[in-house]
């Protein structure tokens, strides 16, 4: 059986190359997470509202958007104060079937991820996430983890990615509760990434050649 060398035994230039790659990827992963949190939020409601085709899902999204834009309220109230409207008037319908409202009662229009965008994102991101998982997994192969652990850990990020994407389709066409599977598989994707990230860096910089050869 081929015995792979360990990262801790590699020349400094290789260690620096792998470390730079990991840090860049880690930074990008973190920024992507922060950006998504700002744009959508990580909650069952926001996921259902974004992907679900059910009426309930759309209503949930509108509620989520309401919450998301609550920081705009103060500013808009000031703008509304410039127009003579009475905020305390109870909603009432006119003869055209329209309900009288105030600007405060306006709900944000939902932003939705439809099938076309899901397919578009899928074909781009499946490749990039696959390539990322391949490189991260390759780094893990050159650590001192036992073969048993490597067999278990290296395919998992791929599996979580597939489940994550499949759930986005399932929530659209099967049931809103697949939002929980999106959350779970998404967290597990992140955990897998972080484990590979930290463990590989640990091996490179905190395991000495001596320790490494001793274990052989």
């Amino acid at each position: 059986m081929i015995k792979l060398p360990h990262l801790s035994d590699f020349p400094l230039a290789v260690k620096l190359l792998v470390t730079s790659f990991l840090l860049t990827l880690g930074l990008e992963y973190g920024v992507a997470g922060l950006y998504t949190q700002q744009q959508f939020g990580f909650s069952y409601q926001s996921i259902v509202g974004t992907f679900s085709e059910s009426k309930k899902g759309k209503e949930q999204h509108m509620m989520e958007m309401e919450k998301h834009f609550s920081d705009m309220e103060k500013h808009l109230r000031e703008m509304e104060a410039m127009s003579p409207q009475d905020n305390k008037v109870a909603p009432k319908d006119n003869q055209f079937g329209e309900t009288e409202i105030t600007l405060d009662q306006v709900q944000e229009m939902p932003h939705r991820v439809d099938l076309k965008l899901l397919l578009q994102d899928g074909h781009v991101h499946f490749f990039s996430i696959g390539a990322m998982n391949l490189l991260m997994g390759a780094c893990l192969l050159f650590t001192r983890l036992s073969d048993r652990w490597k067999v278990v850990l290296t395919p998992l990020p791929f599996a979580f990615s597939v489940v994550n994407y499949a759930s986005m389709f399932m929530i659209k066409y099967v049931a809103d509760s697949f939002a929980y599977l999106i959350l779970l598989s998404g967290v597990l994707m992140g955990v897998s990434f972080a484990f590979e990230f930290f463990y590989t860096l640990y091996e490179i910089w905190f395991v000495s050649k001596k320790e490494s050869s001793h274990e052989k």
Binding site: A32, F42, M109
Partner: protein, 204 residues
């Protein structure tokens, strides 16, 4: 044994640090104007604000489809399959329409583009705003907005042409494609107004 401890420590660190990127791989939407901001910009002050939620019946839907610029949900790439719309209408003391705004989305292959279309009581477009666009196509939509493309629609109605004027031919191919998507959203807004709101304009 030591190996197991290392794995355990790394796992604990991972759990604490990796909760964030749950579905970071969905291309983010960019909000250019919130719904309220758009209404403040597009509606006149002084009128009473009304909201009308409209669900298109099969009859309405077939009529709109016959115009040729509407698509079934998830069919084709031009969008327009949504059956539920919301109008925000400003009326004066005599219930005459001062302005109506409807939000219309075009579902392109690079994501949703939402346009707020403002119309007067005769169904003529008074103004239009792109309120939401996906991060990726923003690169193609932004040049249009900077070049005041939305002013092109002022005074037009549901019979407007979906052909771009010569002055937009210098734009990139993708920008021109998005210009047509936006134009279709405006046209659909005017068509919706004619179908749902305009019948009420004669009444008091």
């Amino acid at each position: 044994m030591k190996n197991s401890k290392i794995v355990l420590v790394a796992f604990v660190i991972a759990v604490f640090l990796a909760g964030g990127p749950v579905w970071a791989h969905v291309t983010p939407n960019v909000v250019l104007s919130t719904t309220r901001e758009a209404l403040v910009k597009l509606l006149p002050t002084g009128g009473k604000l009304f909201q009308k939620e409209a669900h298109l019946s099969d009859v309405d839907w077939n009529k709109l489809k016959s115009f040729g610029n509407w698509a079934e949900p998830d069919q084709g790439w031009s969008g327009g399959g949504e059956r539920d719309y919301k109008f925000f209408i400003s009326r004066d003391q005599n219930n005459i329409i001062l302005r109506a705004v409807v939000f219309v989305s075009e579902f392109t292959r690079h994501g949703q583009v939402m346009v707020a279309v403002a119309l007067d009581g005769n169904g003529q477009v008074t103004d239009a705003l792109v309120t939401d666009v996906q991060e990726e196509p923003l690169e193609w939509v932004e040049p249009l907005l900077v070049s005041n493309y939305m002013a092109e629609f002022k005074g037009k109605d549901s019979s407007m042409s979906l052909q771009l004027g010569a002055k937009w031919s210098s734009m990139s191919t993708m920008s021109q494609a998005y210009a047509l998507s936006i134009a279709n959203a405006v046209k659909r807004g005017a068509q919706l107004f004619d179908l749902i709101i305009r019948p009420t304009t004669a009444k008091k």
